[in-house]
Amino acid sequence: MAFTVLRVPEVRLTVENEMTKRERRAYDAAVEALRGEGCRAGGKRLAAEDSGDYPMCQRSLYGTWRLVTVYLRDHTILIVAVTQHTETETPSAKLAESFPGLAVTGRRRSDQPPCCDDPEAPPTLTEDLEELLFTAFVL
């Protein structure tokens, strides 16, 4: 079964204007894989903030580039963004920098659920803790 893969215009602009040839080849290969394999080529499933969120996945491309996809009920796949990802600027890295005792060691990306699986349940957080974490590290 071939899947329909669409993208927003901003993705085209990013691919055409900001990617090198090699990076574009990685993008094209990812699009082909999505057409042929659907969510199995989507990378890892992103945790949902609430039940109203679209199923969303993130796949590594070449270097620091990441491809973010959304999955609709009619099996259409939308590429909503291609972005560059810097490990030192993730909330996880900032949290570990502020609280060295709370760094996660030996964590493997493959531990997170694949794109076709249901997302992991978010960790339970009190209101004060959620506000601290989101304001200090995410927003």
């Binding site: 927003v8 990441r66 939308l78 996880s92 920098e97 964590r107 601290l132």
Partner: protein
């Protein structure tokens, strides 16, 4: 009492006049810690009503001193929260902590500081659970991707029906 203060005794209580900036900040720190102790006692569920009232009275008396600093300096805040001074300054920029308005050098507001302290303590306690901590790291990273400007713009274009074949 310092000689320069002797002539000003009639303007206010002697202990206020004799308290230096450093001392007044230390009293502010002590007030914050007393308030934390009061909250912990209150949350313990034990019959500690009398002790709570004594702490509340002490806090009230200390807070009435006009010379008590309205907040804590960055260094004391860092010590109280158990984080570095750059982290305190970063949290000020991001709005996690608030500065007392119109005061230089800057002081961190006590009420907001206590709320952040509770959250930090909770984070440290729950972070001992490796599974919870791993889930938290993944969750924060995933939420950051979802909320990133690029993804938000993509979702807005999607909602507006601006789509094309990939």
């Amino acid at each position: 009492m310092r000689p320069t203060e002797i002539g000003r005794i009639s303007e206010g209580p002697w202990y206020a006049l004799s308290m230096g900036k450093r001392e007044s900040q230390q009293v502010a720190y002590a007030v914050v810690e007393l308030q934390d102790a009061r909250d912990e006692l209150a949350a313990s569920g034990q019959d500690v009503g009398a002790a709570l009232r004594r702490i509340e009275n002490a806090v009230e008396r200390l807070d009435c001193l006009t010379s008590v600093a309205p907040g804590l300096p960055v260094a004391e805040t860092a010590r109280y929260l158990g984080v570095s001074e750059p982290t305190v300054r970063e949290w000020l920029k991001r709005g996690v902590l608030g500065a007392v308005p119109g005061v230089k050098p800057l002081l961190i507001e006590r009420d907001g500081l206590r709320r952040v302290h509770r959250a930090v303590e909770e984070l440290r306690e729950r972070g001992q659970d490796a599974d919870w901590l791993r889930a938290l790291h993944d969750y924060l990273d995933d939420v950051a991707v979802r909320r990133s400007p690029a993804v938000q713009q993509g979702l807005a274009e999607m909602a507006a029906g601006h789509l094309e074949p990939a």
